[in-house]
Amino acid sequence: MKPAAPLLVLLPALVLLPVLLLAPGQVHGGGWELIGTFLEAALQPSLDPLVLRSLLQGLGITAGMALLGWACSVVIGVSLGIASSRLVWRSLSGSELPADLLRRLLAIPRSIHELIWGLLLLQLVGLQPAVAVLAIAIPYGALVARVVSDLLDALPDQNLKALLLSGTAAPAALLTALGPPLLPGLISYGGYRLECALRSATLLGVFGLGGLGNELLLTLQSLEFRELWSGLWLLLAVMLALEAVIRRLRQRWGMPSRFGLGEGASGQRGRELLLALLALLPVLLLVAQALQVNPMALLDWQPLPPMDTQHWQAALALPWLPLVLNTLLLTLVAAALAVGGAPLLLLCVAPWPWGRQALKLLWALGRLWPPPLTALLLLFVFKPGVLTAAMALGFHNLGILGRLLLEGAEVSGEAIEQALLCGGCGARIALLYGRYSALARSYIAYGAYRTDVILRETVVVGLVAGTGLGSQLTESLSSFAFDQLLLLLGAYAVLTLLGEDLSDRARHRLLQQ
């Protein structure tokens, strides 16, 4: 019993049935006025020079941090990704065991949210701008490593086998056979990570420097919507500009050129890439200097806070089962809403040209609004609970997955869709069987990675009561209860490992089809 590929993409959207059934019961509807104020403020953001100056300054800090964190995470991720690839180890030593071990180990840094990494690192090295860079680089590096190793392991290995059988040394054979086919995927994913890093840096705020995230969070908490919107518009402009630039670069470097690979075309791309990387280096150094990021300061360890060991009993007595179940429910509902919602919405608006533009705008808002903001807005209308939290996380991730889906649809299945359209199929059927069937597998794989991220993000919607491990984690942090914290982070790591195992199995089955 295997569903057809295009339907696979829509399967998660089934979660909409229970959500739509339950949501009306959760409406209290007392806060439409506040939502109105919020939307009105969008049209008249604060133009106070003091506010704008501080926002611009914050934006600079945040963008710089995102760039540094991203660069570190790509370096860490690519090296660890190669080191945790089964294919690489099998070719080098004949055993896949080290790769499997490393992959499992990497689930631990990945399972902890950037915000929590920041606070943990703060305990160790004090208030340093470098902490923010590292807080992004560690979980992102581990995530990039997973994606890179998955990409490597999914590459066709005939070329590698041929080279190895003809007597080429393993390292050279690996580089020659896997390097070039890996590059497009790497460029595409690397670019996407930079967008993610900007969002993360925004949520994180920067220790000891402030940053746009700080400003947004504090204006949100004091409900200064006009000042909040000044920041949001700024962020939107930067976000869209960054996305456009990355898209252009990806098309230039990453996509197989469709018009005759003439003399020079392949070499030119490599040269440009190399030059861009070279140009990036001094930029990174300058940014690091401007933001006073000093890697040396990371070596200056502070004494750890006092740990008490008498409270283990109390920590173990936390209501673990409901905490874990709530977290799982929240993660799965949010993931299903995001993964299934994007293709479903796109399908719904397929016949109308303006529909896609409207969706793009909606998704940009989803990406732009940090989940705590969406959660607050939803609370103005819905009662607190897992469903409300799931909708907040789902909306944010819908924006991200929707964009990935549109991007994927650009490069695959155009011919089939055109053929179907010309054959007289409706716009929806053509989209469904033309585009979706070609990209179903890679989209579902991205969905699995995103589920990983959503699990981590459950810590940022603690504002909605009783959301499970996330609420408990922020509570334990504010009590400096390091024993509870350790157990909670352990629980996150176990859940991440289980999720990875499940999605690995699912992907293997899909690949074998």
Binding site: G30, L218, P295, P305, V381, A465
Partner: protein
């Protein structure tokens, strides 16, 4: 590898190889320079002229925080004759941790965060509080549609069982710690709220907005914010009302690192304390500071003033 390639490619390859070579040669030149120059002035500044780094728990809108602590930094610098720098932090926990790791010298803490900071940094000194901090109060508020009736006795709180309830920030003294304590006194446990747990709105303003909208039936906020919300119309009396006012308890205070005298010279901690206590509304700059703090003046405070907060904190599990 380049040698094996067909000749028509060698030009391009050479070009790329040259670029790599140049970049590798430039790398060591480029690296130490910015790093070195970034390190040097900091090191010099540390030995020559120590900077007093002040901080605060982030409980206001950023524009107000920047304005207020910018003014405080200027005023302290003028009175103490040392450079003063305001270092923003992202949340309450970060403020406490940054004080423990010695990255902040003088911090404006809340009641609970102040005690947490002192326990994590033995020897830290309580310098001053505002006139209003000796007896600070919280207000329990409720949505008018929730059917919760106001009253003068603590028994009012028993109506909150089974209702949706939100605190402010998790580390807030007036928005969480003391309200939870008074709830416990009235026999209401956090697990008895609808949904089995209270919400944490993150701030007093958010609590008022969420209770007013009806997302939560009731909540707890600090009196200062409640009054100003009523005053500027953010709180609508037709939708949200105060149901009970708590007795007074000590709250916000300035805390200094134990080693200020070693770093800035003998008697420096006392000098800082005297400077803060000397601020009066008669001086225009000091008046601006005091009005942003919502106070007439600062008064001396000592650690023992906050022993009640510590006791309550231990009882509730926020201090261990």
């Amino acid at each position: 590898m380049a040698l094996k390639l067909p000749t028509k490619h060698t030009g391009r390859e050479r070009w790329a190889a040259a670029a790599v070579g140049v970049s590798l040669a430039l790398l060591p030149v480029a690296t130490p320079l910015p790093l070195g120059s970034a390190l040097a002035p900091a090191a010099v500044a540390q030995t020559n002229k120590p900077v007093l780094r002040i901080g605060a728990i982030p409980d206001q809108k950023p524009e107000k925080l920047n304005r207020l602590y910018g003014l405080v930094a200027n005023e302290l610098s003028k009175q103490l004759g040392v450079p003063v720098k305001y270092v923003p932090v992202t949340n309450y926990e970060a403020a406490v941790s940054a004080f423990r790791t010695g990255n902040l010298d003088l911090v404006w803490f809340g009641g609970l965060t102040g005690v947490q900071a002192r326990l994590q940094k033995p020897g830290a000194k309580v310098l001053a509080q505002r006139d209003i901090d000796a007896s600070f109060q919280s207000i329990f508020i409720a949505n008018t549609r929730s059917g919760i009736a106001p009253g003068n006795s603590q028994k009012v709180l028993t109506q909150l069982r089974g209702k949706r309830f939100t605190f402010g920030s998790q580390s807030s003294t007036s928005g969480r710690l003391m309200p939870e304590y008074f709830l416990a006194q009235a026999g209401v446990k956090p697990s008895q709220f609808a949904g089995g747990a209270p919400g944490f709105s993150g701030s007093h303003d958010a609590t008022i907005a969420l209770v007013q909208s009806g997302a939560y039936d009731a909540g707890a906020v600090n009196e200062q914010v409640w009054k100003s919300s009523l005053h500027d119309g953010k709180a609508n009396r037709a939708k949200v009302v105060a149901i009970w006012k708590t007795p007074g308890y000590p709250d916000y205070h300035w805390i200094a690192q134990p080693n200020l005298d070693q770093r800035f010279g003998a008697g420096f901690t006392t000098k800082v304390q005297r400077a803060i206590l000397s601020w009066r509304p008669s001086n225009p700059e000091q008046k601006a500071i005091l009005s942003l703090f919502g106070a007439q003046q600062f008064t001396g405070a000592k650690a023992s003033d906050y022993s009640r907060i510590e006791q309550v904190g231990r009882q509730i599990g926020k201090i261990r």
